[in-house]
Amino acid sequence: MFEQLVDGILWDIALVIFFVGILWRIIDVLRRGTRRDLSVPRNSGVPGAIMANIRGFFPRREIAPRVRMKVIAGYMFHLGLLILLFFAAPHVKFIAEHITGFSWAAMPYWAFIVTAQVAFAGLILLWIHRLLHPVTRLISRRDDHVGAILVFLVMLTGCMALAEISSELRVFHRFTVELLMIYFPFSALMHAIMFVPSRAYSGATFGRRGVNL
């Protein structure tokens, strides 16, 4: 019963909410539009927007020592999660069967385990840091905690199902994934997409003035 629900209708609902939700959020930004900047530019804003999107991946030298922990743990978690998402053998198989129709090389089991450990360490460190640092403790919203816990649960159920010996564990994992997909478009998890226009807007503004963001 639960298995049918999770593999069937709930999956379809989650998929629709996930993609339509994201699309709607993007349209919501674009539809507001920005007024044309009427000041005479020093440089074009386009390279600024592109450069800001690239440079945003690296912390500035001036603050790097102060944010080392956030950057290292952040990269561990984000890269780990991305690699797990697209290169874990069960995921490759699932994506090929249900979404793309074609597959690609998955990583070996040991790489999978190491990646998962790196991602878990990153996520746990980031969350502990969020709770302990006076700044993040002050500015974190309920949404930030819910997002972190949901992602943790998805990863935890995923690793619980690693032995692939029972459908209960697989269904449990898929269920948490569906919860995450439904929650995603309405939450701060949207930063996974919105960082692109956000960096572009700022990068263009600064770029027009001749400043590299």
Binding site: R66, C159, I165
Partner: protein
Amino acid sequence: MAAENRHNSGRVRKIVLFCVFSLLVVVTVPLIPYAIDAYAVAGKQASVEKVAALENPAINLWNDVRQRNERTQGLTQVQGVDSGVLINKAGEDWRRFRVEQLVPYGAWFMGGILGAIVLYYLLKGTQMMPGGPTGVRIPRTTLNQRTAHWFTAGVFWLLAVTGLILLYGRFVLIPILGSEGFAVTASACKEMHNLFGPLFILAVVAMFVLFIKGNMYNLGDLKWFAKGGGMFGGHVSAGRFNAGEKTWFWLVIMFGSALCVSGLLLVLAALVPGREVLSLAHMFHGISAVLLIAVSFGHIYLGTVGVEGTLDSMTTGSVDAAWAKAHHDQWYAEMMNDSAAVEAADQEQGSGLVEGGVAKPGQAPGV
């Protein structure tokens, strides 16, 4: 305002403590009768075997196969570790140790410590700060130390819970979940345990590096031990860490390392020559785990409901001057001489940006 905050955080703390305690009680107490049971059953089986051994006519051959008198290796064309052994007696010894000793004694030990703590709490209650909080804050831990602590604590409990399920699940969970239900639970726990295990290595290393300073024993610690750490009254003098804290630190480092090494051997079983190494590793793993879990009850008790104001050092990173004076008088005197640090923490309630005060630009917190 500050009083309200304290009141609030006190309430939150009580709720958290209640949850943690309930969890511990729920996990441990039900194990006790099963452990007693298992002990009795194992005893019976042992006496049956003794009788059978006396009356068998092909006793020499069978004794060799069973490896009763000495370790015998047969000849075989199969190449591999232990392939010349028909019946691995060491395996049986290990099984017996696990079922007859580790399981029941472990349960008694953990349950006993927990019971003693509850009893102590009921008799003595929370040890309050003498004279109440002064409002003067003294920085005690850095953000990195606290991060390492909670990382270790988180990973430790994830491993402890999954490990205990694997150790006691047969007695506790099969009656509730049934065999199939437990098989699924056990598989999930084993995967989680193996995956999170290596993170504990990082945690132990981080704890060692970040907390070694101030945790070396000195002569004054003997006095502390002699007075029982002030558990039964009387004043005990201590520096930054008292002898009890130092002991906990070294227990974590030593038994934590034992857990890491034995755990790695068990995870990488395919690379380990011989089952005996593995059973030995398992023995060490089980004993160390039970010991650390049991002592951690005491650590958690003292850090939370046991002593007022202790938890602050792991949340905000600073402690009240009254707390420091009562429990770490030598360290208190040292810190009060460094008035700049106290002022900074006082102002910021220990934002813990950088040890000993407010951060300066370009001053790296360090990892």
